[in-house]
């Protein structure tokens, strides 16, 4: 099925470029490593063969939309990419008329690290076939159940079908019902335990800012960590500075996060960044009945108000 | 030239220094000159520099930034730096008062190649507040023990308005002297201005200094430098006889922190003074 989707993506891209309807197609190409795909920018018909679709297309391509110079852009968008597009439209960051959205119902992406940890020895080849993830090493060959190796954000995903598209590649998939979110378990702990978990979770951060850079919604001209007048945060490895980075980054996502998990996938230290965002998303939904990236016409919740908003906590 | 010694001391430690004097240079009050003296006698004894070299000035709690030395080694007394108020450190420098303690690292980098200037006519082309180390160079050449080592000295210096020229009192004394020619220009004249009007690269063509046995030293905003180089070449200056001093964001000042490189050279360590000929061999970055 995914191969057929890849063929269809190539076909659509070819047509768009041939008919000069777009200047560039942003999609995925085969990665240089097993378990990887890689973003690609296709500008000629001759290059369309590079486009692929598989269960390793883990990046959120919408992050390129706020940076690209080309005028008319086609983009391959799974559910979360499409939500980021909608969220960016709601924030007036990208004009709809310049976009051609090639929507792809998503089979959900494989967590490459989890797969690598499940076998002894290096994976030299990997491929998704039906519900299996087949991996191969120097002296092993295994067929793993794909659903057990999905990213956490994918397992919790309730929007696998693109929420907006001009072309849809293949038939819509059935949406999953929400599993128990990981933040609920933490809520049952004491504040002491929660602080221990949070401070431990972020302690290995090296401040490479891959989380910020991978995020489709992080497009500030100047991030608060880079400001110098005033300087909001220490530049070193002091635990409180690292904690502050993660708190402020996450909070800046409140009502804006599309739950794609791109931040966590990008993290070289494998920090669980998703749980805190999932908590914020859950609260925003509960307090303001809002989910980011569903409607481009609804103002994000922290940019608006209702006179009847909850305020019982105010003295 | 001062031979470069292998430094075995900790190159990151600033020398304590004291603010001796500060004064505002320009009408917009954005440029200030500070005079600093080294607090320890051993530092004073070891501090030898060539015009064109720079120091890192520390304002503790704010950080450190690089500034060309605006005084000449022939001038006794404190070191002089002229600072444009722009960022955190420069603003803090503007707030310094007499007696304040700061830190100084340097002299850093390589200054103007004085040995190659000897016996030559010297043409100084300058724009805005980049004039600082060129002022140091001219002051050094004008020193009575040095003047005979150089041929004719021509200074072409411009700023946007008359009030933005640095060292105006000194420039007036230069204009009176007969052992150098001074051409001052402004982009926009006002009622007080009796000098030239026009952009520096154009004035260079107008003045047309002779390139015979001459070296030119060009400092100023990147656009001025870019426009001046080809005009000097037209006047017959060889690229190896044209020099400039580059500015880059710097931190360590000793070629380690990485950011100020131009190709494989570090502006802080191998520069900031480069010949136009050398720059042409390096990758362009701007």
């Amino acid at each position: 099925m995914m191969e057929a989707q890849g063929e269809k993506i190539r076909e659509v891209a070819r047509r768009l470029l041939e008919q000069d309807r777009v200047d560039v197609v942003i999609g995925f190409e085969k990665g240089s490593l097993p378990l990887r795909a890689s973003p690609v920018f296709v500008r000629t018909v001759a290059e369309t063969h590079r486009l692929i679709w598989d269960c390793f297309c883990e990046n959120n391509l919408a992050r390129y939309l706020t940076r690209i110079d080309d005028h008319r852009v086609a983009i391959v968008a799974k559910g979360c990419d499409s939500r980021a597009i909608v969220a960016l439209m709601a924030e007036r960051q990208i004009p709809r008329e310049r976009l051609t959205i090639i929507g792809v119902p998503c089979q959900r992406m494989v967590d490459r690290r989890k797969a690598a940890a499940a076998v002894h020895g290096e994976i030299l080849a990997a491929r998704c076939q039906d519900s299996n993830l087949d991996v191969e090493g120097r002296d092993f060959r295994r067929s793993l159940p794909r659903d057990a190796f999905l990213y956490l954000s994918c397992r919790l995903c309730t929007h696998r079908n693109p929420v907006i598209h001009d072309v849809l590649i293949g038939d819509p998939v059935e949406e999953s019902t929400l599993n128990e979110p990981p933040s609920l378990r933490l809520e049952r702990c004491s504040d002491h335990q929660r602080w221990a978990v949070f401070s431990q979770t972020v302690s290995s951060c090296v401040r490479c800012f891959a989380c910020r850079q991978a995020c489709p919604m992080c497009y500030c001209q100047e991030c608060f960590v880079d400001a110098s007048t005033p300087s909001w945060i220490g530049r070193g490895t002091d635990p409180s500075d690292i904690q502050m980075w993660h708190i402020v980054r996450a909070f800046h996502m409140a009502g804006r996060c599309v739950a794609c998990g791109a931040c966590e996938r990008a993290c070289p230290m494998e920090i669980d960044l998703f749980t805190m965002l999932e908590k914020l998303n859950r609260d925003v939904k509960e307090l303001f009945a809002f989910e980011a990236g569903i409607s481009a016409d609804t103002t994000p919740p922290l940019g608006t108000h209702d006179p009847d908003d909850p305020g019982d906590f105010i003295l | 030239m001062i031979p470069v010694e292998k430094t075995i001391e900790n190159p990151y430690l600033p020398m304590p220094a004291t603010v001796e004097r500060t004064f505002i240079e320009t009408a917009d009050r954005m440029i200030k000159t500070v005079e600093l003296s080294l607090a320890r006698s051993k530092d004073q004894a070891h501090f030898h520099f060539v015009p064109g070299q720079f120091c890192q000035i520390s304002v503790f709690g704010k950080g450190e930034a690089p500034f060309g030395i605006a005084s000449s080694p022939t001038e006794t007394g404190p070191l002089r730096f002229t600072v444009n108020k722009a960022g955190v450190v420069t603003t803090a420098i503007h707030h310094l008062e007499i007696g304040d303690a700061v830190g100084l690292r340097g002299p850093l980098g390589h200054g103007y190649p004085i040995d190659r200037f000897e016996g030559k006519n010297i043409v100084i082309v300058s724009g805005g507040f980049a004039f600082t180390t060129q002022r140091a160079l001219v002051a050094m050449m004008l020193d009575q023990n040095n003047r005979s080592r150089f041929g004719e000295i021509t200074v072409i210096y411009g700023a946007r308005t008359p009030g933005l020229l640095l060292y105006r009192d000194e420039l007036r004394t230069w204009e009176q002297r007969d052992d150098l020619k001074t051409y001052l220009t402004v982009d926009q004249r006002d009622d007080t201005w009796g000098g030239l009007e026009g952009f520096v690269p154009d004035i260079v063509v107008q003045v047309a200094p002779s390139s015979a046995n001459a070296c030119a030293i060009v400092c100023g905003p990147p656009i001025m430098i870019r426009l001046t180089f080809p005009r000097l070449v037209q006047l017959g200056f060889g690229p190896d006889h044209i020099y400039t001093s580059l500015e880059r964001r710097m931190k360590c000042g000793i070629g380690k922190c990485g950011r100020c490189n131009l190709g494989h050279l570090y502006v802080c360590k191998e520069g900031p003074v480069f010949s136009y000929a050398r720059l042409q061999t390096l990758p362009r970055e701007d």
């Binding site: 933490l186 602080w195 708190i247 909070f251 914020l280 922290l302 940019g303 305020g311 105010i314 003295l315 | -």
Partner: protein, 143 residues
């Protein structure tokens, strides 16, 4: 905790209401605990949650944000926007393990000098019960 420990509480007060309310409390000689350090802001809507988090990092034992009553904002909606941010932020900080009692919000008008003193009293008591802040606080390693 030393027995004579007193909390330091940063209070972000809206210029148009709570700041004047504090002023009124002062001129009316109404007593309230001296634990707050006031930062005057043009509107509670101006308060970037970053300010609150930064105050906690710099060692504030508690933070109070006080603005105009609903409907009274000098800029029409600033306090409503602040209320939304506050609603999410307090839950989020609590989720991370920063004690709920460190962060407080209030509506205090320019006429409510007494209410201001009561709010400060209540907040100070709440923060006192928690003791000195330790989480997120940056240790000054250089002194």
């Amino acid at each position: 905790m030393t027995p004579d420990w007193e909390p330091r509480i940063v209070a972000f007060l809206c210029n148009w209401c709570s700041y004047a309310g504090a002023d009124l409390a002062g001129t009316s000689r109404i007593q309230y605990p001296p634990n707050i350090r006031v930062i005057r802001v043009p509107c509670s809507g101006r308060i970037n949650p970053l300010f609150i988090i930064k105050a906690l990092q710099m060692g504030a034992d508690g933070v109070l944000v006080s603005g105009c009553h609903p409907g009274d904002c000098h800029y029409q909606t600033g306090n409503y926007l602040a209320r939304r941010k506050a609603a999410v932020l307090r839950r989020f900080l609590e989720f991370l393990g920063i004690e709920m009692g460190r962060l407080h919000f209030s509506w205090v008008s320019a006429a409510e000098g007494t209410k201001f003193s009561q709010v400060v009293d209540e907040v100070t008591q709440a923060v006192k019960r928690l003791g000195p802040a330790t989480r997120l606080v940056k240790a000054r390693t250089w002194t």
